[in-house]
């Protein structure tokens, strides 16, 4: 089990993806899940990713946004209030 991927590790990797692409791409939950499974292959499954997402969102490091569909973003200024 030495190479097992922990929930915390998946959450960190998801956070890093959101941070890296902030302002460029809006990740949906399923996008992040696909990225993680793409990276780790059989070592992670959808359930692990679901648990990691919940940990990530509960921690407040990321928040949900909405633009015709739900996406995951860094907490910040309320975009729509300032834009337009």
């Amino acid at each position: 089990m030495s190479d097992a991927v922990t929930t915390a590790q998946i959450a960190d990797e998801m956070y890093n993806l959101v941070k890296e692409y902030s302002g460029k791409k809006r990740f949906k939950s399923s996008d992040l899940t696909k990225e993680i499974i793409g990276k780790h292959g059989d070592k992670v499954n959808k359930k692990d990713c679901k648990a990691a997402l919940r940990e990530l969102m509960d921690s407040g490091r990321c928040v949900y946004g909405y633009a015709g569909g739900s996406f995951i973003a860094l907490p910040g200024e309320e975009g729509a209030a300032k834009s337009q």
Binding site: G69, G79, S83, Q84
Partner: protein
């Protein structure tokens, strides 16, 4: 941003269990009801196998109501109904009591508060509707006002049961139709008629361009560059004003005071009774936004209701009546002009063309 509260947060507890909200007579006879009857407009009795009875008094509501109005209904429930009440799928309020003697005083109190009792059986029930200008970003009209103006005109049909059968109206302020008007007897639908205006300087900042491009059902949107900034352009000829792009990209507003308005649709139903569920079909492609009373819209609706009331058979829904008499007769009776806009030209349109020589002259 919100701060973390000190007490441990409760999450994912779901709604309260329904059982605690059921009148004792309802709880006792749950799943054991035998039949129901209308005692008069707005008053139903449900009779259980046990012989127990529960009386329901149905009250029309604007749906958009303040806490004061909710508290008023709570007071009435305490006074007459042991504190129990419910709301219907059409946003009526139902006050329920097992005491027949409570019905008339309850109705008197409801009416004294300015609320109508009715909406049962062969009536026009409450109009289900959406947010409109009161609270929605994509609204082409204000449905709260439209509904108020329409129900003022159709009031007699709410408080009485004099129609051939039930008649259900719905209003939605744009094609998103959170009020699912696509299957009502009469549907009032807010429409946009002008392609979105693109705020080029904002698009790349507030929108994902690939998502915006792929949001268009007719592939009318393409990426482009304006003054060095990435943005999108719209092929106006292919735009059918669905506003899906605006939903995903707020920098493409589509609302337009000069061109937004109302379309009217008829003949839908969700019930399986007699005929299968049906979509509404276009009756009037455009009527102007004319607040606060929208007289052109309410006049057209009254024409439809009166034609139906005068000609339909018992138990015939509006759509069933039109199918029996035929669409040419419907346009003849209502006086609505039939235009090229009435002929479908989106997906599967050809399925709606008449393909027989069966024509009434």
């Amino acid at each position: 941003m919100a701060t973390q509260p000190s007490a441990p947060r409760k999450t994912d507890i779901g709604p309260p269990h329904y059982e605690q909200f059921l009148h004792p007579v309802i709880k006792k006879n749950y799943g054991q009801w035998k039949y129901h009857d209308y005692l008069k407009p707005g008053v139903m009795v449900h009779v259980a196998e046990s012989g127990d009875k529960i009386y329901s008094v149905r009250v029309g509501s604007p749906r958009l109501i303040s806490v004061d109005v909710i508290r008023m209904f709570a007071d009435l429930a305490d006074k007459y109904c042991d504190g129990y009440l419910r709301f219907t799928s059409r946003n009526n309020v139902e006050l329920m009591t097992d005491k027949e003697k409570n019905i008339d005083p309850l109705i008197k109190d409801i009416q004294a508060q300015g609320y109508p009792v009715g909406g049962t059986g062969n009536s026009i029930s409450n109009i289900i509707h959406t947010q409109g200008w009161v609270h929605c970003h994509s609204a082409a009209t204000d449905v709260s006002g439209l509904v108020k103006a329409t129900m003022d005109e159709l009031y007699e049909y709410f408080v009485d049961m004099k129609l051939p059968y039930k008649l259900k109206l719905a209003a939605a302020c744009c094609l998103n139709m959170c009020g699912a008007v696509h299957c009502s007897d009469i549907a009032i639908l807010g429409i946009h008629r002008r392609p979105p205006k693109i705020k080029d300087e904002q698009v790349s900042r507030v929108c994902e361009i690939p998502t915006t491009v792929s949001s268009c059902p007719t592939a009318a949107i393409r990426p482009t560059t304006v003054e060095g900034k990435q943005t999108v352009k719209v092929d106006d000829d292919r735009c059918m004003f669905c506003a899906n792009c605006y939903t995903v990209c707020p920098a493409m507003p589509i609302a337009d005071a000069l061109n937004d308005g109302i379309s009217l649709w008829v003949g839908g139903k969700v019930s399986n009774a007699r005929s299968e569920p049906m979509f509404t079909k276009l009756a009037v492609p455009f009527l102007p936004n004319n607040p606060p009373r929208w007289p052109e819209v309410t006049d057209a609706i009254k024409k439809i209701v009166e034609a139906y009331a005068g000609d339909a058979h018992n138990y015939e829904r509006l759509g069933e009546w039109i199918e029996r008499i035929g669409w040419p007769k419907f346009f003849d009776m209502t006086g609505f002009e039939f235009t090229k806009y009435h002929i479908d030209d989106f997906r599967h349109a050809a399925e709606t063309f008449a393909r027989s020589a069966q024509i009434k002259f």
